[in-house]
Amino acid sequence: MVTFALLLVATACTLHDKNAATLVTVKVQVTLPAEYGNAAYAGRTVTLGNATATTDANGVATFTGIIPDIYTITTSAELSGAEYSALTGNVVDSYQYYTISGTLSNQVIQNESTITLNTLSTKAQALLISKLYYAGTNDNAGKTYQAAKYIEIYNNSANSVKVDSLYIGVAETNGAREFDPYVDTEHIYLKQVFQIPAGSNKVLAPGGSLLLVNSATDHTASNDMDLTGADFEAYSTTYATTTEVPDLTFVYGTGSKPITYLTLLPGTNNAWVIFNYPAGETMELVYGPAAKDKNATAMLNYRYVKLPVSYVVDAVEALKKNNSATYDYTTTKRFPVAIDGGYVTVSATNGRSGEVVYRTVARTTADGRIVLTDTNNSANDFKVGVNTQTAKTKLGTVGEDYAIVTPRTYPQ
């Protein structure tokens, strides 16, 4: 009785009666695609949250002292042609590079566990999306300025590449996504498609770039970029355009009166692709579930180009920033992991920050050609910079050292 009373008093006199979280050890087993046979992913870096570990001879990375939480686990490695040949037995050109990458997002780690991280292997692409500028900025009067948006495409290979007839598209951006990329892993659904005009005979030299804009004018007076050197411009009556720069071919847009400028919008997702399409084939148009019970005109807002992922040359998934630290971005991804294993966000939830999403430099070749990072995962391949020093000064307090990023420049 006395013991019970004392226990009751002790319990009532303190709050420290619940078990606190304990640190755990996590092992990550990285598995290679089938073409690598029984080869192990040895001596490579795996990242779990802010921690890194190196895989052992069996491809296992061990992390100790991990706080139970929700983590993103990633790995990526670039294999030279020789390394690829040694692991797979396939003979490839010596200059060819391959990337192995794998991502597990929102992995809940509560206890000691072994997690399997599957990887994909992709041949390094010649053409890449190297920059996306969709955040916009504020002009010197403090008003929102959205005219200087752009997409930059880069030739990452050692060979010249012809780009006419190349398609550029953006995935649907409804509040709740229409199609789940974890269910339909073979297609993506585009709300807008443009094309480099067929017959333009546009060729990109190794390390060359293609600048696609909405307004090929000088925007520096509005605290933004000079885009007079753009290669192609999306014609519209919304932004000031010029006849000196040829127009992109507008192929498709949702709605009865489609938007004809590049819909690079700050307050929504910006999942862009570049792709080829077999000549003579018609693009398949499908309706999304949101078209249900809509009238004929309204249904057009939910009609999309259904594109097989096998046609995709490159993709980058820039998602709308969410304020919550625990927000699950996989619920809003549009692209299957086969074409983009991750995502990138700018720091401003509604843009106007001058932030530019840019692909980082992997290395520079002996002849000075820049090779950009391509692990098929935007989380690894892209960083966020800013368009001007003004934007850099404003964002400096976030703690990151933002690079100033302009078209056709390649910060590290």
Partner: protein, 520 residues
């Protein structure tokens, strides 16, 4: 403009209410008020039974006070200057034959300058789930506090009482991003006492509900780069550019507590021993009922108040001990969206997938002893007083895992006194000096990550405040006089008070206030 008019009206109403049909020949003086307060041991208790357990001395006072404080030695979340306007009124009164009552109202409004990193009311040793921005700004506040107590006379030795405390508040930031925090809390405490000769035993239990709500953060500038931070304990804070957009959070705290008091009175000696205990549970709610965690509090302690009446005066000896704990459970939640296939409507709810028990803990200890001798001249009241006090204060905050710890220990000591100089025409001037000293025994700040924005801008700079010893000296001058208004006697006072604090090599603070009021 409307507030001075409100205060003037309140003051006039107080003057009017001070007059009743009985037309007292004399109103209580400042000397008598000091004496009466010194003899009210139950003032430190929440228990309404105290209105009857000791003789009720009818009295009341009201005043309007203007003050300004300048702070060079302080903490980041306190600001460096404060202007305040306060109206306060209280009244002890017998109501009829069977009831004793007490009521008070306190209305304060003011402005805090150069405050940052917290847009809520509580900053220290409390709920760690606060939010704010790094930009210095002005904050306007308005708080209204009401207290009402009523107790019966002994009915077959039982005394029945009830107390109600009610507070509403508003805290608005005047610089982008501009949040607005509203506070509403009440406490209802019924109590019962049993008196038998020299002994009185009283028990009271209360329910206290506190709700604080931060909603509707706006900006009037077009910049989109404001970073808004959400804190989870010590250096841990998540900052998001534009994170204020759509942000809102509600804090709801349910506290249950009680007090047990024992009083003994005999031969000029009165002692009151009170034990108190309270336990609270606070939830935080965001949009769609997202919940970052909970915060549980536990407070208990004891007070021992002693009063010895001698021929020439009153001896007061008080001891007070309080212990407090807080524990924050942190949640990891995921948003689940469900679309109804028939209606197409999407509903959202949050599911907790990880829970960190007691991730943030807070512990406070406060122990004080004070003594005062008041020279008392019968019905004329206090003539002078002298006193001293000493105390020990300790606080400790821990965040684990990712172990971080912050703690400090202080010793306080001080002396104070008062001398009433009687002057012609039934007036007097009181001179009340105080001197205090704080000595820091120890401070520790061990952070798992000392590079976070919150660590660099708040915790580390605040260590100067915690580490330095300081001296504080003050002086209050109160002039009180009688004035007849249409034949009715009224007793007025003007009080000017100034404080000066000097920290060891770390700056100084000044505080000046002036109050005008009357007794009733």
């Amino acid at each position: 403009m409307k507030y001075p008019i409100f205060f003037a009206t309140a003051l006039c109403a107080t003057i009017a209410s001070a007059q009743d049909d009985n037309k007292p020949k004399q109103v209580i003086t400042y000397e008598q008020y000091l004496s009466a307060d010194a003899q009210t041991l139950w003032k430190s208790s929440l228990n309404a039974v105290g209105l009857t357990a000791e003789p009720l001395i009818e009295r009341g006072s009201s005043y309007l006070q203007l003050s300004q404080e300048k702070r060079r030695f302080g903490r980041v979340q306190e600001g460096d200057r404060m202007n305040d306007l306060t109206f306060h009124s209280e009244q002890y009164k017998k109501v009829g034959k069977y009831l004793n009552a007490y009521g008070s109202v306190n209305f304060e409004m003011g402005r805090i300058f150069n405050r940052s990193w917290n847009d809520l009311y509580r900053s220290y040793n409390s709920n760690p789930y606060i939010s704010g921005s790094a930009i210095l700004g002005k904050y306007d506040y308005q708080n209204v506090d009401f207290t009402a107590m009523i107790a019966s006379v002994p009915l077959h030795r039982f005394i029945y009482g009830v107390r109600l405390d009610y507070k509403v508040g508003d805290l608005s930031r005047l610089k982008d991003p501009r949040p607005r925090t509203r506070l509403a809390e009440y406490r209802l405490m019924p109590s019962v006492g049993y008196t038998a000769g020299k002994h009185t035993l009283a028990l009271g239990a209360y329910y206290h509900r506190r709700k604080e709500k931060l909603v509707g953060i706006t900006t009037v500038q077009s910049s989109s780069t404001f970073i808004y931070y959400q804190m989870t304990g010590l250096e841990n804070a998540v900052g998001t550019v534009g994170g204020y957009s759509g942000y809102g959070r509600e804090y709801v705290d349910h506290i249950f507590g009680g007090e047990l008091s024992y009083q003994y009175k005999a031969n000029g000696y009165q002692t009151l021993l009170t034990a108190h205990y309270a336990r609270g549970n606070e939830d935080m709610w965001e949009s769609e009922k997202a919940n970052p965690g909970t915060y549980t509090t536990l407070k208990y302690g004891a007070r021992w108040n002693n009063l010895l009446r001698t021929t020439g005066g009153l001896h007061h000896l008080n001891l007070d001990f309080q212990y407090g704990e807080g524990a924050g459970d942190e949640y990891r939640q995921q948003e689940v969206k469900t679309t109804d296939p028939n209606t197409g409507l999407t509903s959202t709810h949050w599911v907790t997938i990880l829970e960190y028990n007691n991730r943030y803990t807070s512990q406070t200890i406060d122990a004080n002893v004070d003594y005062q001798y008041l020279w008392n001249k019968g019905k004329e009241g206090a003539q002078a007083y002298v006193g001293g006090r000493a105390g020990y204060e300790k606080a400790k905050n821990v965040y684990d895992p990712a172990y971080s710890r912050f703690d400090y220990q202080y010793l306080h000591m001080g002396v104070n006194g008062g001398l009433g100089i009687q002057m012609k025409g039934n007036t007097s001037l009181w001179v009340e000096p105080t001197v205090a000293y704080r000595k820091t025994i120890s401070t520790h700040l061990n952070l798992a990550d000392a590079t976070t924005d919150y660590a660099v801008n708040v915790l580390i700079p605040d260590m100067t405040y915690y580490q330095r010893n300081y001296w504080k000296a003050g002086m209050a001058l109160t002039y009180n006089w009688e004035m007849r208004i249409k034949g009715y006697p009224t007793r007025w006072f003007v009080k000017a008070k100034g404080d000066y604090l000097r920290a060891n090599g770390a700056g100084e603070n000044t505080n000046f206030s002036i109050a005008v009021g009357l007794f009733h």
